[in-house]
Amino acid sequence: MYARTVCRILAYLGEPLPVHSLLFDTDNSLVRQSYSPRMMNTFLNLAGFGMKAWDPTSHRPEEPFTYRATALPSFDRNLRFISSKVASTCLVAHVRGVTYSGEAVVADTNLHPFHFGGTRLVLAHNGHLRQFARMRYALVEHVRPELARHIEGTTDSEWIYALILSQLDDPYGLPDTRELADAVAGALRILRTVRAQHGIDTSSPVNLCVSSGRAIVATRLSFDYGWYPPEDEMLETDLPFVSLWYAIGGEYAERDGSWGMTPADPPRSVIIASEPLTTDFSTWLEVPEYSMLTAELTPAGLEFETRDLDV
């Protein structure tokens, strides 16, 4: 058996922005999605919260500020206080959901975003690899030993993270966006191959957000989408393709009581999220299914690209 997580993810890259704005202030903020998701309304995300936030004015700005707690984020005062003091140019945050069973493990070691000591990348995952227990140890040969020993938790997501790091020439260096995108695609290819070797052919969403603090690579993908084990308890959640949206523009700001991106050409900021942060999602765009999105902060602005992900 395995813990099947669904979760909600959020990534931001751009102009410095108080983290509180993204986590709490909007009418469909990430924290609200933990107990009232609009696009996954058969499931709650009550197994904890985690975030990595890069603040260029902080001590050692290349290292992200970290907050993780198994407490419910909506009742976590520390999170509220801290998030109103941190203004971030890059953020990856995650609320974790698990199936309601005695076998799910709610623990600090299972909280996203994952970040092995000494590395520059973090990862958050929205989805789950069905029958992961059958394939877990076949992944060992694809993960560098020095990275494998960092794995502490029981999630499929931490293995995906280790697998991506293992695809990089230097897992401890700062990869450029192209190398990072290739590493993510390479890891997904390995997962597909290992699944096939083990006869695993049921729907397994892998919406990922991987970030170095300067760039974000996100995927909207499901292996074997549309195929489910009989009597599957997650069926209603997984019948629609797991959602991913983005909003792009100048800066994310509140005007006349509503939040949105200001116009800018070229763009300077992007938010990527499992679902729009506002109930009015008319200015949000849906990431196409089976695609990879890359965003990078450059002196000229934000470089942004969406491409088909055929792994």
Binding site: G226, W227, E231, I248, G249, P263, T283, W284
Partner: protein
């Protein structure tokens, strides 16, 4: 506008074709007429849908909101056009903003009155459902044509190219099918009737099931897997929809008799329910519980398709 003129106007609206005079008089009584000056909005994108609107005169501009306070005009509607039905039918917010481009007189029909017209097993309800399917199909074609224009050129798929061979397979477990949102509202007997009205096939990924520009020979419903609906021009392509479990494709041709507006390719291996052309006709024109469910499936699918088609339009407009 007198009551008589209102009834005469309603009689000329294609969506209401075939309704008797008594029906139209009753309908006219339910409608609220108003004149909206140029520049004002009938509603904005995302607003909760409360009414659908018949345009008596004037011109209304359809606007899609884009990121960064921008909008794109997707088209215009005028006399005898109906707007606002999608938000009313699927309960989501309005898909587009409607701004009056030339002062317009409209007749508005409220949500509950519209729902009442569609309810029950009366022949006029079936007729309205069919007219709606035709109207939504025409809208979908229009949106797809705009997208295709953005790609330039002509369809890349050779219409003479062989379509995928389909291997027969067994019917799915009805307990699985019942859990799909598409079939939540079906009564069990009607669902059984629907599921046994066609046959089941299996197809590997990457196979063409239907080519743009050729007539479709069947209605397809994805049971397992996923089928991409795409527009292809040379090495450029736009995915305009993804038919996963419970989603249909191939029916536009069967509704309006024109060639398929999209190419359908399996993205994953797929198990499909296939309802051939002649059986489709019987279900579409029928007036029993199975036909009612079938028309509901098509209606829901068309609305999803229309909203999905707006996604690439928004992305394209945003990138200009």
């Amino acid at each position: 506008m007198s009551d008589r003129e209102t009834v005469e106007f309603l009689a000329s609206v294609p969506l209401l074709a075939g309704r008797g005079e008594a029906d139209l008089i009753e309908l006219a009584r339910l409608m609220r007429r108003r004149t909206v000056p140029e520049g004002q909005y009938l509603w904005r994108q995302g607003d909760r849908a409360r009414e659908l609107v018949f345009i008596v005169d004037g011109v209304v501009s359809k606007l899609l909101d884009l990121s960064g306070d921008r909008t794109a005009e997707l088209g215009r509607s005028g006399r005898r056009d109906v707007v606002g039905e999608i938000g009313l039918l699927d309960g989501q917010g309005h898909a587009m903003s409607m701004r009056v481009a030339e002062t317009a007189t409209v007749l508005a029909l409220g949500r509950q009155d519209f729902a009442a017209l569609l309810a029950g097993q009366h022949p006029s309800a079936f007729r309205l459902k069919r007219h709606l399917a035709e109207l939504l199909t025409a809208r979908l074609r229009s949106q797809l044509e705009h997208l295709a224009e953005s790609l330039g050129g002509r369809p890349s798929q050779d219409p003479a190219a062989a379509l995928a061979e389909l291997e027969e397979c067994k019917a799915p477990d009805s307990r699985y099918v019942r859990r799909m949102t598409t079939f939540h509202d079906f009564d069990p007997l009607a669902l059984w009737g629907f599921l046994t009205s066609g046959h089941y096939v299996r197809c590997p990924p990457g196979r063409v099931l239907l080519a743009e520009g050729t007539p479709s020979t069947a209605f397809y419903l994805t049971i397992n897997g996923a089928v991409e609906k795409v527009l292809v021009r040379g090495d450029r392509r736009i995915r305009v929809g993804l038919a996963g479990p419970g989603k249909a494709f191939g029916y536009e041709s069967l509704i309006d008799g024109r060639p398929s507006p999209v190419t359908a390719i399996t993205r994953e291996r797929a198990c499909l329910l296939v309802i051939p052309h002649d059986l489709f006709g019987r279900l579409f024109e029928g007036e029993d519980a199975v036909s009612r469910g079938f028309l509901d499936v098509i209606q829901k699918d068309l609305m999803t398709a229309l909203r999905e088609t707006l996604r690439p339009r928004a992305r394209l407009a945003a990138s200009v």
